[in-house]
Symmetry: C2
Subunit: 353 residues, 2 copies
């Protein structure tokens, strides 16, 4: 059994709304030839607010890749430790109860990885298994839950801790005035999140019991979502072709749900979707014949925090816990999308023991 | 069952011996205040030859992080494809027979990762699971075999393909004249390697059947092996304290082997050790009471190719296949060491079906 218990999502203190962000970018690019288009598209993101690791005047100034990566390490470790302590405490668990530690994070690069710093700093067992992953972008949250599911299939009484560390603001490139980049600057938010996946649920536990997983790579679509790696760090690139991907993933999801639940995706009780952006959510609604209500938790996450990359699925799942509308036995799906183009999908049942 | 079949190890064409390398470095740093020490230590590495991705005059010139990472991508994909084709062909398998694709590589950074490029280019199944890992350095080869073992425990009839892509020459920093860095410049070699881990061995299969795994992190030793991430890329750093680590790992290995095989490590028939360097191998010999013969395959790999990072354990394992001295039922251990400080260990039996 792989029970995903209530996530913890922590946001850095600096908050900015989209109106302020538009002003900031207008001041940076006062002669942008397509400014009207940019402003219209930013307003269309349906992101109201985002949290950032640093004050906006720091975010938009590039202090060098080395400085940024140092900040990533210091703040990443600090916030990952905070999330780890909270999620362990919420589950009445100790670091020594964790057998596998997964850290997913695509906005900085450390060697050794955050898994080893956490094991040292929080006194996990020395034989805790490490799974640090950088290269799966926004798909990494659902990907990690899928790997946790497989791991617990092999070790049914083990526990997995998943931590997502995403500071997309550290990828702000002040000289990049491409329209897609300016939109991305207003789309991604910073957050650190985590949850425990328990092999043996106990009396009183509530959560999302994963019962099946699937992975999908759309071939030859590596240009949809990518980084250019330069002396100035990672340069995020998004191709608008990415919108076509959902049309291809939708039947994969339908088959996956039909096969074991004998239902359509839109018959499910809950839907935890990665909020790639408003258009990705619109595509999900239209290709899966969803009601707006089915994806309200995803829209809510996007609106309040922007796209927090691999952490989105944990935030949306957390919205399900907070809303208290889930009943024991409810059936649901989770799906996240990222570079590759990759989709990671799972399905399961809401449990209230 | 997790049967590791014969690896394929491919080296880039440019070969350099240690005498040439000493000349190159002497010319680069003609006034190095500790040159005599440097030269003596380089001669003590017991590395005779290494293969490099580029001619040495290119290796020692830094063309920028962006250029190097582009080279990493182009050559990495080309050589990983070659290794994939060979290892599949040797096993009479097709890309569609692979369920999980693991790529370990710590000498470049791609988003999307090499897993997704390989799935596209070589026409793996769209639902092939991806496990791309960057942050485990030299421990990643044994780490990946341990993850493959767990994966096959969950899915007993699945197959895993492991690819290691290591071009340490892309981390050469021409301005770094620290003694430890100059030694590292003469220690690491480039290679791409791979192997298949089969869930269901067939008649005629030969290989290393993994029967148990272990992981170990020495706490607060993150400074032993690390990268500084800068605008010029990854700067490798090695602290001589790393030599003390084997003293701590040795009893972990002894317990691990004693527990299930009821033997000492030095009673085993074969030993596949990561060749961190000559001193690491010497420490293994002295702390585990090994005979020189026990680690001859590791010494051979170090001598002929240098430390090829995560690929070492595959090269040493390949030396076991090539030597044809293994008998059905032989018992052995594999261990690799990397940043953290992390050790990944497994044990098993040599199978000739």
């Amino acid at each position: 059994m792989s029970l995903v218990t209530k996530p913890v999502v922590v946001f850095p203190e600096h908050r900015i709304d989209q109106k302020q962000m538009i002003d900031v970018l207008r001041n940076m690019f006062p002669y942008h030839p397509k400014w009207d288009t940019v402003e219209r598209m930013i307003k269309n993101t349906e992101v109201d607010n985002r949290n950032l690791l640093s004050p906006i005047n720091q975010v938009i100034t590039h202090p060098g890749f080395e400085y940024r990566n140092k900040l990533y390490k210091d703040k990443g470790l600090e916030m990952a430790s905070e999330v780890t302590r909270k999620v362990l405490s919420n589950n009445k668990m100790k670091p020594s109860d964790i057998d596998l530690l997964i850290v997913v994070s695509c906005t900085g690069f450390l060697m050794p990885s955050l898994t080893s710093y956490l094991i040292s700093d929080l006194d996990f067992r020395s034989n805790t298994k490490q799974l640090p992953v950088v290269q799966l972008g926004c798909a990494a949250g659902a990907w990690a839950l899928n790997r946790a599911y497989e791991y617990i299939k092999a070790y049914p009484d083990h526990n997995v801790l998943l931590i997502s560390v995403e500071f997309s603001s550290l990828l702000f490139q002040p000289k990049d005035d491409k329209i897609s980049s300016l939109i991305s600057n207003c789309l991604f938010g910073d957050a650190v999140s985590g949850c425990i996946i328990k092999g043996v649920p106990e009396s009183g536990d509530e959560g999302y019991l994963i019962e099946g997983i699937d992975s999908y790579l759309k071939k030859n679509s590596d240009h949809y979502i990518k980084y250019d790696v330069k002396s100035t760090g990672f340069h995020f690139g998004l191709d608008k072709e990415v919108m076509h991907s959902i049309k291809e993933v939708a039947p994969i999801m339908e088959n996956f749900i039909q096969k074991d639940f004998n239902k359509n995706v839109n018959d499910l009780d809950f839907h935890v979707f990665h909020t790639g952006g408003r258009k990705i959510l619109d595509e999900l609604v239209s290709n899966l014949d969803l009601l707006e209500d089915d994806i309200s938790k995803s829209r809510e996450s996007l609106k309040n925090h922007g796209n927090i990359a691999s952490g989105v699925v944990l935030d949306v799942l957390d919205n399900e816990f907070i809303s208290k509308t889930r009943k024991h036995g409810d059936k649901g799906i989770m799906a996240a999308f990222g570079p590759g183009f990759t989709a990671e999908i799972n399905r399961g049942t809401w449990i209230k023991n």
